[in-house]
Symmetry: C2
Subunit: 117 residues, 2 copies
DNA sequence: ATGGCTGTATTATGGCACTGATGCACCTCG
DNA sequence: CGAGGTGCATCAGTGCCATAATACAGCCAT
């Protein structure tokens, strides 16, 4: 009923993409490490290999992973920091203003919610 | 490419819905006032009447507007406050946790961004 | 070299959301 | 009563998403 912000009803390939990006930034996939194969991750996540490939696609285009055909995909050196910088920029430019307006309208102040939860 | 938070690539009926909700909360459509007709708003926004009707749909279901068939749709008394309360609850429960995690990962602190921009 | 692992390309299919065009049912006003 | 304004139902078209079944291309350890 509410196809909105919640990540629940989002395309699978985008959820995977976000999940992998988070893992890279957090160092769960360290630089130089090999990402799970499309088939392996597909099996683990109960998805289709091509869907996983689609999730990986963007990281290749951005040069954050190196593809060794027949071997696997490896996290490029400096990928974590570059990815974080890029995501931060996008967040501040595209997402935060809207979120801020929304909160203001709802009578919420980010400053009051720093530690809360 | 990124059907995500940015309101740019979101369904039209959802953008309209948000826009109308904001107008109600802000009092641009006061209680008791008649909302723009589906055709009028459609023409103004360059959208299809049915798309506008779909945007209005949810407000009817939630009892925030009263439909007088053949006449128009009117903002129910107390709609603004009820709407804001409901939106705030949804935001805090569904959206904010994810946003907070995301910001934390990106090295951003809501407290530092109260006035910024 | 061969088996087994990688990523990739191709094509087809089903489902679903979004948008659109048309026509109908209802009400108000002159 | 008729004209013009409402909302609403129905049907159709389009595109994206996800899946599937294969097949191909490259690498590596045995």
């Amino acid at each position: 009923m509410n196809p909105n912000r919640p990540s629940s009803n989002r395309p699978v390939y985008l959820k995977l993409r976000d999940q992998i990006a988070a893992a890279i930034i957090d160092g769960d996939y360290p630089e130089g490490a090999m990402l799970p194969s499309v088939r392996a991750l597909a099996a683990e996540q109960g998805a289709n290999p091509l869907t996983v490939a689609k999730a990986y696609q963007q990281f290749q285009n951005d040069g954050l992973v190196e593809v060794q055909r027949g071997v696997g995909m490896y996290v490029v050196k400096g990928a974590a920091e570059r990815l974080r910088a890029r995501e931060r920029e996008v967040f501040l430019r595209d997402e935060w203003p809207e979120i801020r307006n929304r909160m203001k309208r709802l009578g919420l102040d980010p400053a009051d919610m720093a530690i809360s939860t």
